[in-house]
Amino acid sequence: MGTQMTELDTDQERVAPTPEREGDTVRMNMIQAINSAMDVMMARDPDVIVMGEDVGFFGGVFRATAGLQKKYGKTRVFDTPITETGIIGVAIGMGAYGLRPVPEIQFADYIYPGLDQLVSEAARLRYRSAGEFTAPLTVRSPFGGGIFGGQTHSQSPEGIFTHVSGLKTVVPATPYDAKGLLIAAIEDNDPVIFFEPKRIYNGPFDGHWDKPAKNWSGHPGGEVPTGYYRIPLGKANIVRAGEALTILAYGTMVHVCRAVVEEAGVDAEIIDLRTLLPLDIDTIEESVRKTGRCMIVHEATKTSGFGAELSALVQERCFYSLEAPIERVTGFDTPYPHSLEWAYFPGPVRIGEAIKKIMKDA
């Protein structure tokens, strides 16, 4: 187990977020950046409220809401009963009144009881009431694997939500992006699912689980403005420019791909999608037309995963530019295992093999 975060070992980040100062920009880990986004938005807009299991006095099991109840009071930052149906449903009702709720679902693996309220209600409210009612909520939830969390603390269910018309889905890959995207999500008038890759809460992860964990201090994405800024939803980020191949990734996999590409010495262009829906299709098209090759990497299972949608889009729009079949590198189509986590996880070996395959005739 050694260096990696042990399952749910949230104790290690028990300190309330007090980022290091450096002018207007400070060093933050992703939890602190998320905390800062909510703090900034609560200060700007009295209608923003934060709710969820253990988010109040305790400040959340990952400490993402630490200090907010003290600052903004119990009626704006409160613990909820343990019912995800209730949390989402109540947030929709509060949104209907005019508030801007930011509910937390403690782990994405526990979002399913809230699915009916999300899929049948939040997603369709604007449509079915011809805009009379909307659901301006941002559902935050830690997701993804790499922490020995077993099948109930590791899943990546984003594909369930991108399949639902009316929902937006966002996944940040750095503290800087997390804050800017979360602010944009809170300001958005449509329901947003904001999945936080918990494996990179404390630092970028290169996929080598057996090497010492890094923190955010050496990464430019760990420099975060203290005030308000937004990163528009629907805008991808080219994290590495390249000519040989386009890699589409998001969340933890952005960092794993980057490390693999550097190690393999391939001139890949890595696009961090940041928002899965609405998707930045222009950036993707432009890149694939240039490189002629496209690889899609996500932790989630393969079948009917978001990679299938990406693959179809690229094929439909860039077919005549493609020089090799599109590659999908994903988690395997099994429930998330416990002991064989690193055999399951789409790590450096799986990505490396896929790069060899797609570059074979280059």
């Binding site: 187990m1 399952e7 749910l8 104790d11 253990d54 209730g86 077993g150 064989l340």
Partner: protein, 427 residues
């Protein structure tokens, strides 16, 4: 937002529950009502559920402050059974201590103790038949221990090692044993509740004699599954015992966030028209008696009983939290219902069937037994150190028969293993 026309009305205000004590606070539980042992009546098991609703608001207690068993709920167990019950509770505590420490030593990823709540599971297991089906939450390891389940087998699961019957697929402590009539534990709260009702309905529809029992924490009663289960249990008079373990805390949230400021958890039964009992959960005899009574109702087609076990979570929620961050450290010491092991011990000593020397000797023996079991289990490996399951087992058990795409992915994984150039490089 208040509109002009309503300006003469008083503004509304939102109530948000707050626990009595936070870190650093002096604790005084004077307002926790503890009725005297023996005071609650014991209705006939054939009585209508709505004829004894007061039992949902009191505490069924058998052991008084001196450790004497009093009143109509005294199950009058033989000293031999009492000693076995005490032993199972002490073994549960010793097992928890050991496994918690193993997690701290990095031997596994996760652990959860049931310290202070041992009576809830152990006494229930003694009152149920060995083949009555249990649908537990993650905090009823006492059921398995009371059923004499092999400690090494349990530890193998905690370590996800090569002796783990669950093949390293499930999070530690999420045991499963059909042979032990113990349903596969889920990490998703309260899902077991309707499943237990379904099992009980099936047993009834088949003319079987076995009943089901399920457990969830007080926090989990907020989940819709809990309420669906109560509705089905009521509608079909399912032969099931619905246990709510009210240990006052759900991670950092006190029971008020599940509704305890307004009423009891046992009182949930009243609205559903099922029998409700509120029991001193640190009194093994009361837990035994209530379970036995509920089992008799179930076996005679009187339907479900909801039992609230009033107890206290003595330690952290799991290895992942530090309770001193959100509750007063004094709480457990001040808890008015004491320690379930100490209380049963005191009872046996009062009967002159036990003494401190034998208790000390037993504790020593159990610590040794657990240590020996741990040694044995660790021969099968610990989490993260070596490959305990063949790689390709990852794909087994998703379906009864493996579809083509999984066979393909299985081959892909083995090829990756080769490509890595290191045997079991991703161990």
């Amino acid at each position: 937002m208040a509109s002009e026309t309503r300006a003469n009305l008083k503004p509304l205000s939102l109530h948000v529950p707050e626990p009595k004590f936070r870190p650093g606070d002096e604790v005084d539980f004077a307002d926790v009502e503890v009725p005297p042992a023996g005071a609650a009546r014991r209705p006939d098991t054939a009585d209508r559920a709505d004829s004894f609703t007061e039992l949902a608001y009191t505490l069924v207690r058998v052991l008084d402050d001196d450790g004497k068993a009093v009143g109509p709920w005294d199950p009058k167990l033989s000293p031999e059974v009492l000693r076995r019950m005490l032993r199972a509770m002490a073994l549960t505590r010793a097992y928890d201590e050991r496994m918690f420490r193993a997690q701290r030593q990095g031997k596994t990823s996760f652990y959860m103790k049931c310290t202070g709540e041992e009576a809830v599971a152990v006494a229930a297991a003694f009152a149920l038949d060995r083949d009555d089906m249990c649908f537990p939450s993650y905090r009823q390891q006492g059921l398995l221990i009371a059923r004499d389940w092999d400690l090494v087998d349990m530890m193998n699961q905690v370590y996800s090692n090569k002796g783990d019957r669950l093949e390293g697929k499930q999070l530690p402590i999420m045991y499963s044993t059909k042979e032990g009539s113990f349903f596969s534990i889920s990490g998703n709260l309260a899902t077991q509740y309707p499943q237990a009702v379904g099992w009980a309905m099936a047993s009834a529809s088949k003319g079987d004699t076995r009943i089901a029992a399920t457990w969830c924490g007080e926090g989990s009663t907020a989940e819709g599954d809990f309420h669906s289960a109560c509705t089905f249990a009521s509608v079909y008079r399912a032969p099931v015992i619905l246990n709510v373990v009210n240990n006052q805390w759900a991670i950092s949230s006190f029971s008020g966030f599940a509704g305890a400021e307004a009423t009891t958890f046992a009182a949930r039964a009243i609205g559903y028209g099922i029998a409700g009992l509120r029991v001193d959960g640190n009194d093994a005899l009361a837990v035994y008696a209530a379970t036995q009574w509920a089992a008799e109702r179930a076996r005679t087609n009187q339907g479900a009983t909801l039992i609230e076990h009033f107890t206290y979570r003595a330690e952290g929620h799991s290895t992942s939290d530090d309770p001193s961050q959100y509750r007063s450290a004094q709480e457990y010491g001040a808890w008015p219902l004491g320690d379930p092991i100490v209380r049963l011990k005191q009872h046996l000593i009062g009967l002159r069937e036990w003494d401190e020397e034998r208790q000390a000797a037993m504790d020593k023996e159990l610590a040794e037994k657990v240590r020996a079991a741990q040694k044995e289990a660790e021969k099968n490996g610990i989490l993260g150190h070596g490959l305990h399951q063949p790689l390709d087992t990852l794909f087994e058990g998703v379906y009864e028969e493996m579809p083509w795409h999984l066979r393909e992915q299985q081959r892909q994984m083995l090829a990756e293993e080769q490509a890595s150039g290191r045997p079991w490089a991703r161990k």
